[in-house]
Structure formats: C-alpha cells, structure tokens
C-alpha cells in the first residue's frame, strides 16, 4: 500500500508541474470566442449604423428637438430639458453620445490606418475615402454641439489618458481637409472590391459617396458663414452633390432588426408631445403637412399640443408625432438640405431667382419624404400659393423657416445648428416660443461625463456646466 502511495504521490507531482507550464497555461487562456482582428469592410459597416442610429438619430437629436421646439419634452429627462432643469447643464446628459462619437472616430481611424500607406489594406482608396468623409461628419457634429473638444491627442487609449482640447477653429480646418482628402480618394481607382452589402447606405456605390463628400463641404462652408462667408463655394460644392433624393445619404431601417430611433423613443420612453410653436408655424402657412405631422396619443381621445416651456408633466395626454414610424430614415445629409443650402447661399448673394428655384426643389423633396408622402403637385401648389409670396417679402426668413419645418423631425441637430448660426449672424428669423429662452437657451451641449470625471482638461472646460447658457461655440460668435 505504501508503494501505491508513492506512485500516487509522484504522479500527482509530475502532473502538477506539467499542468502549469507556459504552453499549457497560454492555451488555457486563449480567447476562442472573439476575433483579434478583422478587415476594414466589417468595421465600417457598424460605423455607418452607429453614425445613423446613435449619433445623428437619437439622444443628440432628441435634445436638439426639444431645444429647437420640434417636440416638447413632457416626461422625465425630456421634460427636464424642456423646463431647463438639470439636463441642459449636466455632464451626464450627452455622455452616451459623447462616447459614441469618439468610438466612431476611433473605429474610423483604425480603418484609415489600415487603408493608408503601410497599412494592411494599403490602396483601398474607396473605403479610405468613405472613412474620411464619415470622419469629417462625426467630428463636425462633435464640435458643432460641444465646441472645443479633444482631437489631436484623442484616440490613444492607455497612452494618453487625459487628452487636451483643440480649438473649434483648428478642428474645422481639419474637417475641411478630411472632406477634400475623401473627395480625392473616392476619385481614385482601386483593386479592392467595393463594399457591397457591407455598405448599408449606398451598397458600395462610390459615386454617391463622392456626392456626399461634396455635400458635406457645402454644409461646413455654410456653417462658417459668420466667420468666413464663402457662399459661391457653398453653391459650387452643392452643385457637385446630390441631384435628387434618390442619391441622398440616409440610413434605412427595416422595422424588424433595426428601428428608427424616434419611433423607439416613443415606444420605449414616450417623452415627447407635439410642439405648439411648430404647429403655429404650419398653421400660419396653411401648410398641408399639419395633418401629417401629428396624431393623438393612443391613450388619449383628444388632440392637444403641448405648450413650449410649460407643459404639464404627464404621459398619454398630448398629441405625438405621426411621422415617427418604425422605418423612418435617419438623414446624414438629405437632398432637400443641399437645395436649402443653395437657396440660402443664393439669397445671401442676392440671386433671388436661383434661390427660389432651389427652395422649390427643396420643399418638393421635403413633401415627398417617405414618411410624409405628399405628391410633388401638392408641394407645387403650396409653393405657388403660400411660399412664393412669403419668400418675396422676406427671402431669408422663408428659406430658413421652410428648412426648419422640413427638418422635422429626424434632422433636428442641423436645425439646431442653423438656429445658432443665424442668431450669430443677426438673422433671428426663426422664432422660438419657450419663455425660458430669454436666459436659458442652451447655446451648446455639455461635454460627456466620461471625460469630465477622468480628464482634468475637459473638467476645467466644463466647470459647473452653466456655460451652456452663456457661451456660444466659436462659429456662432463665441470663443471656444
């Protein structure tokens, strides 16, 4: 029996020592569940989804929608935003969006590195160009809403823990460079296969991405109008962009595995009521869209608009958007926006005839949006009977108000950007009704809490958050 014991003991010891050798342990700790690298075409797919759903489509748009009075916040966070209590100044309000934007930028940088010189997909110019255009797009939303933000030191996790802020002016210079680089790369030929189905937006059609890049340039040049007006360049770029809504850059939802964010915001949260001030603008114009934009809340039998700034905090009472359908698209850049940009630039340059043509095209496209569904004829009637005379009496006001109405409700961020730019330029043509705006219009969005709590550079820029009510971003006449 002792012999047996000795054998057992030595056996256990040998196994014990072998069982913890480097090779055995490495093998045990191997992650068999996740890939350690993938090709750029598999990464860019989700950049598009995230850009549409998370960055352009949801939280930032929801809050913009409240501030710009496309909707009225009637419950919880949206209500707090409506009555300017907490939400507009809190670092946590936009934290999820803040993180998503930088995550987008990080993924895009990875793609750009892969597709650039020395990368594993060197010469993949089309994916590179798309990535640069989307990079410019995300970076612009980031700085448009938040002003000076980390950029040149950003995106180095584990290396730089506390990136410093870059000025919005410098970031805008880079945005325009990225757009130009995108235009250059999208024009090159490549041996890499097109993105095809991995491209949810254009199915790999490089020509359309090129038009998107030109359209972005038009948008960003217009954005800087208060600082450096370049209306002729806006028109030149816009002319190289979309020529119909079939070419516009929008993300479509299928209503089963993907849902339109405004639709889900209603089903999951039910925080919005129909905006009284927007309804007033439509009524003033006898706009046929007023029967299309809204419907009674399913839990209510009556039709009621929510007063801007002073709704009662109650769900199931106020009417709601009728165009928040499960498949309502998210527009990254719409054809009607391109036409509105041209219309404004022509007005600014005094070419009212060209402006009117562009405006008519824009309204027609806005009427025919998939979740509006009006005919071109209805748009023409409306233009001839209502818009035309209003345009004649105040061209800029009508262009900008029509753009504001057309942007309901998916393009709230861009409506918010326009309002701030117009205000800086002294063109207060869009009237908002929230009485709190006299002292508490949020001129910008706060930084994300993930930086405010871990990055002292952002923390000191954030302060107590009340700067949002007083300081405008650089392109809107502020300093940062």
């Amino acid at each position: 029996m002792r012999k047996l014991l000795n054998i057992l003991l030595s056996g256990v010891l040998v196994i014990g020592i072998w069982s913890c050798s480097k090779e055995v342990m490495d093998d045990i700790n191997k992650n068999v569940n996740d890939p350690t690298d993938v090709a750029s075409n598999l990464i860019i797919t989700d950049v598009m989804t995230r850009t549409a759903f998370t960055i352009t489509g949801s939280d930032l748009a929801f809050y913009s929608s409240v501030y710009i009075e496309h909707n009225v916040g009637i419950w919880n966070q949206s209500y707090n935003a409506e009555i300017r209590s907490g939400e507009p100044v809190s670092a946590t309000t936009y934290n999820n969006s803040w993180n998503s934007m930088y995550r987008n930028l990080a993924d895009l940088r990875l793609i750009i590195v892969k597709c650039s010189e020395g990368g594993s997909e060197e010469g993949n110019f089309h994916t590179l160009g798309i990535a640069q255009a989307l990079n410019a797009y995300t970076l612009a939303i980031l700085t448009d809403l938040m002003g000076d933000v980390p950029w040149s030191e950003a995106l180095q996790p584990g290396v730089i823990f506390t990136p410093t802020l870059d000025s919005q002016e410098a970031i805008y210079a880079e945005i325009l460079q990225l757009v130009d680089a995108a235009i250059g790369n999208l024009g090159q030929s490549t041996v890499f296969p097109p993105l095809g189905g991995q491209d949810f937006i254009y199915g790999g059609d490089t020509e359309k991405w090129l038009k998107f890049a030109h359209g972005l340039k038009a948008r960003y040049l217009m954005r800087l109008s208060h600082k450096s007006p370049a209306y002729a360049d806006v028109i030149a770029s816009a002319n190289q962009s979309f020529s119909s809504s079939a070419e516009e850059c929008k993300f479509l939802y299928n209503g089963s595995t993907t849902y339109s964010p405004f639709y889900r915001f209603f089903t999951d949260r039910d925080y919005f009521g129909a905006s009284q001030s927007l309804a007033d603008k439509l009524e003033e114009r006898s706009d046929p869209r007023d029967t299309i934009f809204w419907k009674a809340h399913p839990a209510s039998d009556g039709f009621e608009f929510a007063p801007n700034g002073s709704p009662v905090q109650v769900q199931g009472r106020y009417s709601i958007s009728a165009i928040s359908t499960p498949t309502a698209p998210t527009y990254l850049l719409s054809y009607h926006e391109i036409e509105f940009l041209k219309a404004e630039a022509h007005v600014r340059l005094g070419d009212l005839g060209a402006a009117k043509t562009a405006l008519k095209n824009a309204i027609s496209a806005a009427f025919q949006k998939v979740n509006i569904g009006l005919a071109a004829a209805a748009a023409d009637d409306y233009f001839d009977n209502v818009v035309s005379s209003r345009f004649d009496s105040n061209p800029l006001a009508e262009v900008m108000n029509q753009k504001y109405i057309a942007f309901f409700e998916e393009e709230a961020i861009e409506a918010y950007n326009d309002y701030r730019r117009l205000s800086a330029m002294g063109d207060n043509v869009i009237e908002l009704a929230n009485p709190l705006n006299s002292s508490q219009f949020p001129w910008r969005f706060t930084y994300g809490a993930s930086d405010v709590t871990t990055n002292e550079n952002v923390r000191s820029a954030y302060g107590d958050g009340t700067y949002v009510f007083s300081e405008r971003v650089w392109w809107a006449g502020g300093t940062r």
């Binding site: 069982s19 342990m25 996790p157 990136p163 993930s450 930086d451 107590d464």
Partner: protein, 1051 residues
Amino acid sequence: MLVFLLVAGISHAFAQTRTVTGKVTSSEDGSGVPGVTVFVKGTTTGTVTDLDGNYSFDVPPEARTLVFSFIGMRTQEVEIAGRSNINVTMETDVVALDELVVTAFGISRERKSLGYAVQDVDNEAIARTSNSDLLGALQGKIAGVDIKPSSGMPGASSQFQIRGARSFTGNNTPLYVVDGMPISSEPAYSTLNSVTGADISNRAIDINPNDIESIEVLKGQAASALYGIRASNGVIIITTKSGKSNQIGRPVVSISHSSSFDQVSRTPDYQTTWAQGTGGNYVPTSSMSWGPRIVDLPDDPNHGGNNFDRPGYFRVPQLELAGLDPWVLPKVYNNWDDYYQTGYTMSNNINVSQATNEGHFSLGFSNTEQTGIALNTGMTRYNVRANAERNLNDNFKVGFSANYSTVDIDKLSGANDGSLTGILAAPSSYNLAGIPYHRPGEPTRQIYFRGGSFDNPYWVPDNNTFNENTNRFFGNAYINYKAILDHSKTLNVRYQAGADTYTTHLQDIFGYGSRGNSRGVIDNYGKTNSIFNSLLTASLDWKITDDLDFNVMVGNELNHENTKEYEETGQNFNFPGWNHIGNASVVSANEAQWQRRIVGFFGSFSLSWRSMLFLNATGRNDIVSTMPTDNRSFFYPSVSLSFVASELNALRDIDWLSYAKIRASYAEVGQAGTYYDNFFVSPTYSGGFWIGNPIQYPIGGISAYIPSYSLYDPNLKPQNTKSYEIGIDLKFLDNRLGIDYTFSNQNVTDQIFPVPLAGSTGSGTLVMNGGAITTDVHEIMLYTTPVRTRDFRWDININYTKLTNMVDELAPGVESIFLGGFVTPQVRAGIGNTFPVIYGTSFVRDDAGNIVVVDDPGAWNHGFPQAGDPDVIGEASPDFILNGTTAFTYKSLSLSTVFEWKNGGQMYSGSNGLLDLYGMSAVTEDRESTFIYEGVKPDGTPNDIVRGGPNDPRAIERLYADVLSNVDEYYIHDNSFVKLREISLRYQLPRNIYKTATAGISLYARNILLWTELRNLDPETSQGNTNMGGSFERFSLPQTTSYGFTLDITF
C-alpha cells in the same frame, strides 16, 4: 440499505440488562440538574434526567462506562464498576478552553494556538429560525462581517463581505470550502448596472443551511493565506453533517419540518386625500396623484358624475375599456396592501447517520418550497447529501462527501423594468386590484392607470417570466494515510479530488403585449460551470521535547474551471399567447467558452512551546492562467504568533482572570485579474433610452465587428493585499465573561479593475493595475453569562464591528469608478471617500452647506431649491454594526434572539423619491398650507419666501414633481436601523416521547424591523448582486417579516 442499517442498530437491544439509578447535581448550588443526557458509552442506550435531576435506566451487562452530558456543562464519563447507584456532580463549562478549530485545508488546531481571529457558527445558530438562505441565516452572528440582502424575494442575492471590500468592481466574496472542497458561491451572472431586469441569485443559495454542522469563518489574510490567490477575501469553511460525532452504535434518524409565513415587512405611509391627476385636475391616465381631492372627483368637469346625471359618481375610463360600468363612487384604496399576499415557506429535512468503529456515514434529504409575497415568485429546492468515511486499516482511511441540489426560482424584475412599480405608487383613487388588467377577450392588451413602459403588476404573472433553474453537484473523495513513525513523529498524507459543477438556465421574458416591448422579448441564457480540484497534502508532527512541538506541511493544489455559456434572444413574437423563442420573429444566438487554471504549491510550519507560545508561518506560490504570460507566478507569505499569557506563573494565580492571550499576524495575499489579448466584438445597441435592442445584428444577413470597448493591459500584475492583525483574548471569572478584540489593517495596492477611460480616448475601459484601498477594522466579541442557576441561564454574545474602507488612489486621472446605477445617480468608488459612495446631482449650496433657493419673484420656482453639480451625495458604509445573540434557558425552554443595530450609512431610495414625485407619500398630504423651504437666499439670508396656500395651489406639486425629483441628493436617505433578526422559542420535550426518541418544537420570527431612519421602506432592500448592493434601491422587491414553527424528532 437504510432498512439494513436500522435492523443492525436495533439488534443491540436483546441481551440481559440491569438497572442503574442516580442523581445529577450542579457543582454551583448542589441542586438537581434536569435534562442531562445519560448513556452507556459506545451505545445509544440512555435516558435523560427528570426535573429533580434523577435518572434510572436499564444498562446492558457489557456496559462499562456512563457518559453524562448537558449543554453548557463539562461532559463526564464515570466507570460503572458494578454499582447500581451513581450520583454525579457536573461542572459548568462556559467556554471550552481546549476547543479545536478547523483552519486552512482542514487542519485542526487548538484555538489558543491561533495568531489570528476565527469565528465559528454552529448548526443550532444557523438552523434556529429555518432561514432557507444560508447568508440570511448568518446575519448578525459574526463580527467583522457585513451581509447585505437585496430583498425579500425568494432566492434573492446577498452581498457578503468579510472586513470590507478589497476590489472595486471585482469579487469581494469569500472562498467557500465545503468538506475540504472549494466551491463557487458567486452569482452565475452579474446584474451589471442593476437598473434593468431581475436579480440573480448567489450560488450560495444551493446550500441548504440545515445540512451544515458548523461554519468556521477565517477572516484575515493570515488565516486564509494557505488558500492563496482565491482567499484574499477570507474563507468560509463549511462542514456538513456527518456521523462523526454520533455515539458509536445505532443509526440516528432526525426529521424536521418547518413552516413559516412571510409578510411584507413595511407598508409605505400613503396620502389618502388626493386623486390621480396633475395640477389639481383628474387625469385618468396620469401616473401621478396631484389631482383633486378624492371626495371631489364627482365634480370633475370631464369625468365627474355631478355633471353627467350621475351625482356622487365619477367615470373611470379604464372600466370602460374593460367593458364595465365606468361610474364608481370615490373611494380610497391601499393598492400596496391589496397586492401583497402572505408568503409561505415549508422545509423538510431527513437525516440518517451512524458511527461505527470502522467509520461513519450520513445521508440527508431535504426540500424547501417557498411562495413569495409577490404574485408568481417562489423557490423550490431539493438537496441530497451523503458522506462517509471508513478506516481501511491502521494507516489508511477513505471517504467521500457528495452534495446534489436543484433550485428553481421565480422572480420579478426591478428598477426600470420594475414589475411592481405600479404597486408602489398607484393612486389611492384607483382600484388597481379590482379593475381588470386586460381588455375582455384580449389577454395581451393591458388596461392600466398610467402610460409609460411599466406593465400592470397584475398582468405580469401571466405574461412575464423571470426564472432561474440550477442543478448542481459538488463533492470530493479522499484517501488519507497516517503513520506513526516513532514515539514522537506522526506522518499524515492526504489526497483529495473533487468537483463542483452546475448548470444554470435563466429565462427573462417580457410577453406579447408588454408595454416596453409591444410584441415581447425573450432572453434564454445559461451556463455550465465545472471546477475540478486536486489537492495533495503531507504533514509531519514532531514532538521534539515535552515542551516543544513542531509541525510541517507541504502541498499541491490544482484548480481547473471550465465554463460554457449560451444565450439566445428573440424579439417580436409573431402571435400572442406563446411566449417562446420559437415564436420570435428576430432571433440571435451566441455562445462562449472559457477555461481557468490555478496551480498552487504551498507549505507551512508551526512551532509551539509549552502551550504558551505558538508560531506559525506559511508560504504559497500560485501559477494562474488568466494573467499575461510573463506575470503568472506569485508567492505569498504569512506569519502569525500567539502568546497565552495566562500560562505564565505570575498570571496563573490571579483568580478573576481565567485566560489571556495576545496574538499578532502578518500576511500578503494577491488577487489575480483576467487578461486577454484585445479583441473585436459584434456591436450591441442596448442601454440608454432603449428597452431591449433597437438594432440587432446580423442586419439583413450582414454582420459587423468593432474593437471591444474593454481593453487589457499586457503588463497586468496581480493586486496585492498586505495585512496585519493584532488581537487580545481575555476570559474572566471562571470563564463567565470573555472579550476578544481584534484590530486589522488591510492595504490593497495595484488594484486590478477596468479603469474607466475618458470617452475621448476612443475606448471605454482598460483592465490595468491602479488604485489602492485601505481598510481598518476594529472587532470586539463579548460573551457573558450574567445569570446561571440550576434552572435558569442567560447568555449574551455581542459582536461589534467598526470598519473604515477608504479609497486612497485610483488610476491616473481617474476620479471615480462606476459600480452600478445610472449616469446619475450611480454608485461608485471615489478617491478620498469611503467605499462605496453614491454620486449624483446635488442641491445648489452655499459655502456653509446651506441649500440656496431661487429668489426670482414671479418665477415658478421662486423660493425653491435647485439642482446643482453632480457630486458625492451619500456614503453607504455604516459607522458601526453592533449585533449579537442573547439566549434565556429555563429548564427545557429556551428563548433566543438575534439583534442587529447598523448605525450610520446612507442609501439611494428611488422608491421614496417616486412616492414624492408622484404625490403619493404621506409628506404630500398637506397641499394647502403655506411653507418656506429650509435654506438660504442667494444673498445668504435665511429663506423667508412663502409658497403654497390658496393663491399658490400648485406650489407643493411643483416642488416635489419638478424640483426635488430632479435632485438626486433628495433621494439619499440615512438608513440606520435596529432589527430583531431572529427570535425563537424552543421547547425540548424533557422526556423521550418513545423509547429513545426525543422531540422539540420551536416558534420563531425573523426580520422584525424595530426602528429605522429610512421612511416608508425596509432599509435592507436594494438593487444588484454586485459591489453596489445595499446602497441603491429603485422599485426593488420589498423585504419580508416571517413567522413560523419547526417540529423535530430524533430517534
């Protein structure tokens, strides 16, 4: 088998017998002692003394020795030597001096030799009030330990920490060792942010408290250092019932039954005046109760019967939807009391055990059936247990221990998925129990008093499912070789192999028609977790001289864990009535497999001199698979010293001092992290505003992969805990008074945790070293027997714990770490704060800390406070915890209680906030008086702005609904409490009910809340099975108070 054993046992009864009589008296006052067990040594033949201490029974002719035993008195063995009358004087034995305790790897040591604190809890203390949850049964009984239950739901998770936390986001749960085999006790899944879904049980729920013979708690790192990297959080050594302590001979069968009735421990104080609505108007779809007076509802312009020819009535549209007469008389309902039912818990235990000269065995079977206080909650558990040991010859001994359990738990969801949110704050004017919860003939179309995503609580049981089903086996087999080498040396070699494997299946279903997910979602997930453990130890005892003993031990342990997880999620059921993955129109699935291995080599040596001075040192080297290749191997030492001063001649003569010991120890123990090469993941879109997943890959057959938002530092090294502990144990007055004091300090450095990165770095977290936390703990155990007479005895045990857990350092630039909750409020670890703290929006305050109100005449919030910056708004950790037991024994009757006083500490109470926001709490009852909010105006003068009154009727509503509801600090409450955790009255029948059969009956109650600073709710109600537990409550299921009885028979 069982029949055979019974027959074998009974066969003793046939031989010629003779009668022995006598009296047992007490050494204190000479009076007779009743209830003393008298039996023939080596058999079960025996009796119990009567009320005067007399006994008489027949003994077999071969009987040599009688054993006299009684709890609290020293057991005596008396030679019969032909006598037929034997009188015995028994001495009291308050504290057994040479008590043996089990330390690491089952090593038995005398308590006095230990240089660190250990504390034991015996079966009686655990099972006294038949708590089905082991952690619940330990509450209030151990110093230095904090057990925080999450709710009164059957199977609810608890947080169990010994001497505070060592890890911010990782595991702080002690290692459980059952019959020598380490088993897993953590939840199979974390509740993560803990603001959606249902609670997930700790795997300690698989253990039936009634199977436990005793529990030894190794608190400090020095005590547990031999267990290496897994034992930095202390060790719970559980010994299950065996036949080892039986008298040799007949098998012993014990049967017990327990029934208890559970009630919700507290009903919130509701306002009973005001109806559903807002702004003083009746709004039948509102979640709030800021409407008109309930008695005035018939006057409502839109729904009041006085305007529609139904004087005195008002119209409830929900009744219309249900196809019923909508006109009802105004009435006040208590929807809370209407909903909660009396829960019922039943447990049955059967245990058979026997000891023979060759070994012993024990078999146990038990079941627990629990029905919760909330509809459709409950737990069913079956446990089967067997262990046996057999001596093969003088040297070899083999044995095994095996445990099987099956646990099925039906739960409900909390927080933002709160199943019972509607119960908490339903308007007093709405008859939630009485109005149908779905439309006639359409069971999936809900009728409810409010909008939003919460489901009607009465609709939930038939449509939503939260279920956990776990099957588990753990056990081990061993062979032990013992050889006496010579008169002074003994060698002991033991090899043990064991397994712990469980498979758990969880199901979360929001059925078709659920308001957050109109066509429903289903999530089926689970894992199989298997641990193999191999343990070899060899030890040598060497009595070098009469005064000097030496012991050395070496060993090897291999622990290998295999995990396989699966998850299948479905959305949008095609048709109602079949909430099954096969009916989901969008389905996705995933699986994952992991392995971990720890191989440890360890050794210890100890020296003892004259039962006075004891030195013990240990060392262990662990090699861990989950660390980076070059950072896998670590060594941890410990050393401890015990000095029994009362053995000194100078102290021996002091009458009042019976025992004095000074002890000190030092140890280092690590905790490994989990390292992987950075990887890509499939994107997910849950969280934020979304219920479920609004985007679900693959989209139209297209997948995508993105870099994981969690990164790993390739230079990861293990976190290190350095700790020291000093203590003194004193016993006075013939051991009638004892006090143990321990001070310990833990210094945890190089914490491993997912360091939150600034979003601008493009990533979320980096698993790296960083951060330090120190813990100072004062523990005092006091035990005394103030009264001790012939019939009456009073014992008191008191544990006092004062613990300071400070976060000294986090990763560079990081101010805080998220543990759970929302963006705000959240539970987090913050530098310079105790652990953990609650962070959220604070009040705007001046430099002196006064709340600053708005001074803006005409503004709606004139005179009201305002939301300020996010800040630390509450500290969860208490100032001290004082708990203990006291027992009164009178003859065969004993009354024992366990109490606990937690002083200090705060929690976030989302439910209290909601009650105020919705105008349902009693504090919102008075809406007509004027008031001045306590604070100062911006100029620093005391606030004198009067709000409210007849001309300002909405002031109270706007204060609660629009101001305070947005200030997280308002939701923070002190939650000190005093609880009677247990009270039980036991009557042990003084005479055998039949031959050798004894019986007892106990009546008990649990969790009687005596006093708390928290309003409306039981303070031990919270969200999460993670380190945030106990500090964050939001529509969590309420706690219960239980009343029950136990019957037990042993023969």
